[in-house]
Amino acid sequence: MDVRQADIVIVGGGGAGLRAAIAAAEANPQLDILLLSKVYPMRSHTVAAEGGCAGVIQPHDSLDAHFDDTVSGGDWLCDQDVVDYFVRHATEENLRLEHWGCPWSRKPDGSINVRAFGGMKIERTWFAADKSGFHILHTLFQTSLKYPSIRRCDEYFCTDLLLEGGACAGIQAIDMRTGSHTLIAASAVILATGGAARVYRYNTNGGIVTGDGMALAYRQGVPLRDMEFVQYHPTGLPGSGILITEAARGEGGVLTNRDGYRYLQDYGLGPETPLGEPKNKHMELGPRDRLSQAFWHEAQAGRALATSRGEAVNLDLRHLGEARINERLPFIRDLARTYVNVDAVHEPIPVRPTAHYTMGGIQTDRYTATALSGLFAAGECASVGLHGANRLGSNSLAELSVFGRVAGEQAAARASQGPSVDPQRLLARAQDNAAVWEALRESTGNERLATIRDEMARAMEDGAGIFRLPGQMRQTCTKVAELKDRYSDLGLVDRSRAFNTEWLNAIELGYLLDVAEAMAHAALARQESRGSHQRPEDFPQRDDAQFLKHSLVYRAADAPRLDWQDVVITRSQPAERHYGAAGQQENKS
């Protein structure tokens, strides 16, 4: 066992983790900050975000408008004090990224350009062509290099949180290159491990997005919150699920069914907007939950296209012309050409909804503190209360900076008060943990890793997908419990230590199963329809009397335990969500 000590350990090197590291280094340069990740930081899935990053900047826009769009977009399940803090700090964080070199797209006069995005009533999405996440991530990684107090453990796989005296006192990890175990004591630990959409079969996520931090916290009794809310992005490539950014619609792309008809006008998002004149909060610029649900109905009615890669609708960009596509959406053109053999300049791109984002996560307060003293969480792995029941596109990239910074500062404040516990006091526990992982590496059971993983992914799609039907939801809960049971009879083949990805994938599968369990049970418990959580058969309406609450899932011996937490409402009382003409009517009144 390699034994180390740091003031702050950050698990995850994506946007939130890097921003936290920089904030902590700036808050107190004396602190020893360790950024630990199972991949080199620039591989983190922040890299795949395309469309952009929200922040009010136009003179005719306002913080109130961003607040209102976020709260109504989240179907009133957002904590409004958190949304308030977020909208007040998003723009300064975008500017800070600019000062660090982020190549935000510009207007001809050299000022920041913004684009339209779904559910936002005024253009406020900053973008770097259609590689916004890529540029944010590389800017943060490169900027982090100038702080000598930030050290990295690249390709270290976190396996456990270590507790002492009821507080988080460190972590342990496997050095992937050697397969050896490392214990790191720290005064503060920040989880910034990203989402978990790999529990689904078709998803936009990278292979690394396996809910590690959520499961690590859950296993220590920290509740996961609002896990039933999983966002399906309306436009992924059929087959692979690769993301085709919402910016394609923000720039004017339209969705048509097999008859060439812009079907969104039939789902409360019309009237149809003229081609080339996208209108905020109308048609293709409706929120993601509504668009994904509309696809499902079209497919049910037999109006989707049958493609060799499965059912799809068409995303048509042709009227934008080659020059604009190359300027604003070059990556999309490249992706469509490479992965579905379509040149978006000449043909529509086939797309379908695909699992994309976990609105829920590790419960934190507005200062990113979890229920476990010494443990903080930020970014997609956390539920700070920003997104409610449906996230608006471009709010999550801004969240990484706004709450990554908060987490870094909070952790620095805690670490500045005193050194970590003596790592020797954690050693016995860490050795016990290591023995469990060693047993897994040498496991000789009868179950295959890939089989359990694929059955889980299918079950989640069936019972926790775009629409949730009572029988299927219960089946999914039962199936996940069965798979967890079978997981304990896993048999692995690879007995080696050096970069043993079978072993690491098996640990990841354990994380995924925990997260799947929390999602499935939270979904079953929420007996209403709200945002991305839709139960058309048994509970088709939103029920504020009973469920204007966050769900909390606690790990328990057999099935998880559910609890509920009040939503913070400050100034926006729950109302109906209106888009298209109905929304406009509402704005006038």
Binding site: W100, G101, L449, V493, F499, N500
Partner: protein, 251 residues
């Protein structure tokens, strides 16, 4: 019967192998199947002991670089359909890097080089964020745009004969990254970075083969970046010489 393709994969497990060897697999062919899909099929269905890096599947995270029939490629953006005429597809770890395991290269030397060139915006005077954005026109952005597209996949290092000979050479990716900042109108750090560009391991080590730019999956054109670096380094040399002749030794 399903058509299959023969995929030969380099194996190397440091705990049991003294040298890399090759293992053959038959993979069911389909039009959409990438090399990465083939490797994942092998790992899931045939031999779980195979190790390779991957994540995004969409050519942006830079994890999955390998040699495919002797060419550096992203496995997620390379398709079996393009090798149907050939008897087999051979996949091995990236050239010019030590092998950690199977297709996993030790790229830490390359990452160190990236860190060396001070790849962050350097200003003599930082403006507060409250002062707003530094202006930059689309034309000014265009000057460095290509060099900012690097995904750090390392394919250019696998292609670079000079890096193969001398791992201390900063190499195409790091030198392109230095130029990405040097050419940014907001940056004032070119003079500081010059020490790295000018050094023995800097731009002058490049023998201008140009293969780095050919294999780049993101059209970064590191060869052009290095060439611009040589011009800058030349000017820097001339200015220094002139200043020394004028008796200013602090140039």
């Amino acid at each position: 019967m399903t058509e299959t393709v023969t995929v030969r994969v380099q194996r190397y497990r440091p705990e049991e192998d003294t040298a890399p060897w090759e293992q053959s697999f038959e993979v069911p062919y389909s039009e959409d199947l990438s090399i990465l899909d083939a490797l994942n099929q092998i790992k899931d269905q045939q031999d779980p002991t195979l190790s390779h890096r991957w994540s995004c599947r969409m050519a942006i995270c830079g994890s999955c670089g390998v040699m495919v029939n002797n060419e550096p490629k992203l496995s997620c953006k390379t398709f079996l359909r393009d090798y149907r005429e050939q008897a087999a597809v051979t996949v091995r770890a990236l050239d010019n890097f030590p092998i950690e395991r199977d297709l996993v290269s030790d790229i830490s030397g390359f990452i160190d080089h990236l860190e060396t060139v001070q790849p962050w915006l350097i200003r003599s005077e930082e403006q507060p964020v409250s002062a707003g954005a530094y202006p930059q026109t689309p034309e000014q952005m265009q000057r460095y745009a290509a060099f900012s597209q690097c995904i750090n996949c390392g394919l250019c290092y696998a292609a670079c004969p000079q890096f193969g000979r001398d791992p201390a050479f900063l190499g195409p990716g790091a030198l392109a990254l230095a130029q990405r900042y040097n050419l940014d109108s907001r940056d004032e750090g070119a003079a500081q970075r010059m020490q790295w560009l000018n050094a023995g391991e800097g731009v002058w080590s490049c023998t201008f083969v140009g293969y780095c730019s050919e294999v780049c999956p993101k059209d970064v054109d590191p060869a052009a970046a290095i060439n611009r670096g040589k011009v800058a380094s030349d000017i820097n040399y001339a200015v220094n010489l002139l200043n020394i002749l004028r008796g200013k030794d602090d140039a």
